[in-house]
Amino acid sequence: MTTVLRYKFELGCVLVLVLAFVLTQIGVNNFFFFAGFAVVQFVMIATAWNILGGYGGYINFGTAGFLGVGSYTAIALIQWSDVSIVPQIIIGALMAGLLGLFIGYFTLRLRGVYFAIATLALAIVLETFVNNWDFVGGAAGISILPPRNPELLGVMIVDRKGAGIFDNNTEFLFFLISAMAIFSVWIARTIERGKLGRGLNAIKDNEEAAECMGVPTLRLKLVATTVSGSLMGAAGAIFPNYLTFVDPLTAFNLEFAINALAMPMIGGTFTWIGPVIGALLLGTVQQIAIVTISSELNLLILGVVLVIFVVAAPHGIVGWFMKKN
């Protein structure tokens, strides 16, 4: 029994994954998967952001850049050689991770502010670069056709006629992003509870003191940046298959930056639960809002809520709950 309790988090993860799978098998409206994908993707993005931002205190404004790198790596791979989706995700993650390492190497030796500015500028530069890269569609964008009868290791994954595991690509992608999100949360929690997480917290609290207490600050920051960036790249790599049409404006949208920031800050940055709650809450609200109010008003409210939380509730929803107990 104690074994079960010790691994209750892992068991929880498996249960959630099974739940996600079951949802795809019963007759749920396809719109649910379409909207659900976006929400779960945000869980992954918010969790990834928080590894560096919440644990380490180094804020990344360029989430859109890392996502976009993932997306366009996937697109480039599709254009080049019709690579299937799992390698797209892995290579997209790799490219974004390398990008994080590159930016981090130049800017993490300095105050956190410079890293933040560099990431923001980076996202814009990448968008400009892709705008001019015709191989992946340039500014006009590109259409991605889902594979006609995709297989994975010989097993039919998606078949409209019901022979595959999933009935359509959206269900499959929903399941895939759920698995990826659960994986991200597992990584975040493992980091949080381990030596790396404690070191990152020390860096966030007082970097100079941490360094003098033996914490290799630059190395830890680079690790966090690379892991965070890779997860974002993976989340971006799965995007083209979901959207079926991608242009730089969508892939590098600044909305990702504000959401990646707002969701953990509103949920609570000091623990893995915070970004999950923030993403589920804000993601769902936004999905509802998009159909009922204008997208500008939605963003305005998001910005205002972010500012309010930053000012009044620095420990987020989770922090507020914990204080009450």
Binding site: G53, G57, I59, F61, I103, F106, T107, R109, L110, R111, G112, V113, Y114, A116, I117, A118, L120, A121, L122, I124, V125, T128, F129, N131, N132, K204, L254, A257, I258, L261, M265, E296, L297, L299, L300, L302, G303, V304, L306, V307, V310, V311, P314
Partner: protein
């Protein structure tokens, strides 16, 4: 010969562009350099200033530069308010730097969305006598043209910069602003409230957005999201010039203007944002204190 002509014209445009960049960056040089507040929303406020100039110009026919001057007190007041909020919630309690940054990012976002809601996503332009025409000349067989809109931006930016430099060097509040950067305690012991000085300084920093915005809409067509394109520019200039140095900002703006103009002419305008970003990264990597910086990057 063609190359030389292209080069000369690119150089001229670059210098004039540099002047415009100074107007853009100088407010941030004050806020970030002297007050250590990372107002990443600064370019977006400039865009807001540009929209104000557009509104005054299209509705009342007011000359855009005059409109910029009219808007300056409003932006000063806005700066005063914003800094007061920032100080109240963040600096006084020495909250994490992360939260201050998030605050300004939220402001950036809110401002941009409000602009979209008010004015839509279309590009806007202004009309004035000097926009659209150029001064053409030829020296030693090389033809060059100096667009009046760039020239006027350059002149106004120059006046603004010299004025601010004089203010910081000679006036009491100007010197107090420099002092507050170096030693707050000493300043308050001399009977000056450091917070008021900072409020004024931030107000001035944001006040530049009125005129800078007017210059922006003179130089290029604007739309609400265009501020983001300039974030890289503006921070590259402030970092390259060195935090807290107006003359550093001037030199850096010139360098960037010329670099962007040359790259634009010879490699295509789509590469221009890469220039500012590369300069930013390069400076941070090799000389974080910038050319003439007095600030501290670590």
């Amino acid at each position: 010969m063609i190359i030389l002509e292209l080069f000369i014209n690119a150089l001229i445009s670059g210098i004039l562009l540099g002047g415009f960049f100074v107007a853009l960056a100088i407010g941030l040089s004050i806020c970030f350099g002297l007050l250590d507040t990372v107002n990443i929303a600064h370019p977006t406020f400039v865009v807001a200033g540009a929209f104000c100039a557009f509104f005054l110009n299209s509705t009342f026919g007011i000359d855009p530069i005059l409109a910029g001057v009219i808007m300056t007190p409003f932006f000063f007041a806005l700066g005063w308010l914003i800094y007061s909020a920032y100080y109240q919630f963040f600096e006084r309690t020495s909250a994490q730097a992360l939260r201050g940054l998030a605050f300004f990012f939220g402001l950036l976002f809110i401002t941009e969305v409000v602009l979209i809601m008010v004015s839509g996503v279309d590009h806007r332009l202004v009309n004035a006598a000097y926009i659209g025409k150029s001064f053409r000349g030829a020296v030693a067989g090389i033809e060059f043209s100096v667009p009046y809109r760039l020239l006027s931006a350059f002149v106004v930016a120059g006046i603004m910069t010299l004025g601010l430099q004089a203010f910081l060097d000679r006036s009491f509040f100007g010197r107090a602003t420099r002092a507050v950067h170096q030693d707050m305690m000493a300043l308050s012991l001399m009977g000056v409230d450091p917070v008021t000085v900072k409020r004024i300084a931030f107000g001035i920093g944001l006040g530049t957005c009125g005129i800078a915005g007017a210059l922006m809409i003179i130089v290029i067509p604007i739309e609400p999201a265009v501020g983001r394109v300039f974030i890289g520019n503006v921070f590259a200039i402030v970092v390259l010039g060195g935090l807290g140095s107006i003359s550093g900002t001037l030199i850096a703006a010139m360098i960037l203007g010329i670099a962007e103009s040359l790259v634009s002419t010879f490699f295509g305008p789509s590469w221009a944002p890469a220039v500012s970003f590369s300069i930013l990264l390069g400076v941070l990597a090799f000389r974080p204190s910038g050319l003439l910086g007095v600030g501290d990057t670590r």
